[in-house]
Symmetry: C2
Subunit: 281 residues, 2 copies
């Protein structure tokens, strides 16, 4: 069973998936990306992901070389070629190869990559049982709502977390907690689900939006505001969301337990509701 | 005459210079770079550039696969193979190809690229005669002293400048003017040369440092502080510096002339001194 790659119009193996060193993705991080979960052969909210890809591309004035319908067809083809039923689709569009100058190329030839990667279900289940996190300052640029490949601050933050025995880094901005290295952040404070509002300080995840819908349906009160880090001592629960982990409870932050240090009631309820939703797709 | 490329231990043509789509430079912008001017077959302050490359790499915990001496030898070899006497050396190191996760690869195999690019001397001379600039907000992350390839804010700023008929974008931070899209910024205010201090808000250029040394030798008073944008109405001169343009006078900002709208006395003096310095190398 081989992982499949689609690169600039053709299907190939990972070894054959090569780009020029002049690709603006490599030289400038001049590109955007998406990650879509595939479970039991189904893609979770693919349409929402493709709309978001289009939105990110638009924000950096990049014309995608394929329509959403064409990209979806590539995803189905990769699933079929690879035989992968549980995995992740990674897709990335860049402004392509061109002589190096910051200005956009006058006749850009975008690079478009789609790759299917098998998921390690054991690791996913481990994250579902809970993870540790640390606080770090939010050092990113101002347009965090663009899902670009300028990810060095996220890379350095998550590596710092790993070196401290944690899974994820929670970003503290002067506004409060924004999100994490590669996930959105939720806290339960006084029985209310609190998470940062949409805006340019967060990349509002598809799972984040799904969780907010599930919370509304379950009549869990929600506050869209930036949680203060000092509030976390009184938080009864916290969790992170992203497309690969879906919902992962945070058991401890900076080695201090969150609530009772185990997945809380609201987190578990939302995880169950998400699993139920996936079964209906 | 062919531009030469060195990639991961071998010399090749630009067409042969290919990397994996799994390269962390492409996926995360997880890399650093340098640009070195080659004029009349001589490299300008190569040692300083190689020290800075090492410093940037250290700041992102990236071990360079070659020593400064080995990299210098590659530059000389590329000059010789290409026959280029006036050009730019572009070099970039990334954390290499690895399965996609934000965490650093456990056994990284860094990518190292060096490329020699012929310079268009006419365009350089045009910039020496003066350029236009615009003001834009400084939207970058907090570690601008790391010369990383997370350059999307710089790309978007310079493209915005180009679309407004300008060459460069001057970044305004709450602190004042920090630097530009791909150059350092200097203003002459009350006969004093004013430029942002070293620190994490600017990438202190090799030409910036050289200009400060030349100014000291010429007894031009220098103030290391962030110029306020509103001060520019009273500025008698302004210029930008970087390795490819060296010193380029700013004739107008947002279509308002700086001083008399032509290269000023101090700018011209410093340009002449820089040319004289180059002749001694």
């Amino acid at each position: 069973m081989e992982n499949g790659v689609f690169l600039n119009g053709r299907y190939c193996t990972p070894e054959e998936a090569l780009i020029s060193v002049d690709d603006r993705g490599f030289l400038f991080g001049d590109g955007v990306y998406e990650v879509i979960k595939c479970f039991d052969g189904k893609f979770f909210k693919m349409e929402e992901h493709l709309i978001r890809l289009q939105r990110s591309a638009g924000k950096i004035m990049l014309d995608l070389p394929y329509t959403a319908r064409e990209i979806a067809a590539v995803c189905y083809e990769l699933r079929s070629r690879s035989g992968i039923q549980n995995g992740l689709i990674y897709m990335q569009a860049t402004r392509g190869a061109a002589p190096r100058t910051h200005y956009f190329p006058q006749s850009p030839s975008p690079t478009f990559l789609v790759k299917i990667i098998e998921m390690d279900v054991e690791i996913w289940l481990e994250h579902c049982r809970g993870v540790k996190a640390i606080f770090l300052p939010d050092e990113r640029w101002v347009h965090c709502d663009i899902k670009s490949v300028n990810l060095l601050p996220n890379v350095l933050a998550r590596e710092t977390a790993r070196r401290q025995g944690a899974y994820e880094a929670i970003f503290i901005h002067s506004l409060g907690i924004t999100e994490c290295g590669s996930s959105n952040f939720f806290a339960v404070l006084d029985g209310r689900l609190v998470t940062a509002p949409q805006g340019d300080r967060i990349l509002s995840g598809i799972i984040r939006e799904t969780v907010l819908q599930l919370a509304a349906a379950a009549e869990i009160p929600v506050e869209l505001r930036y949680p203060r880090p000092e509030e976390m001592a009184a938080a009864t629960e916290a969790f992170i969301t992203n497309s690969s982990d879906e919902i992962a409870p945070i058991l401890a932050i900076d080695e201090k337990p969150v609530g009772e240090g185990r997945p809380g009631k609201i987190t578990t309820l939302l995880s169950d509701k998400l699993e139920a939703l996936k079964k209906t797709l």
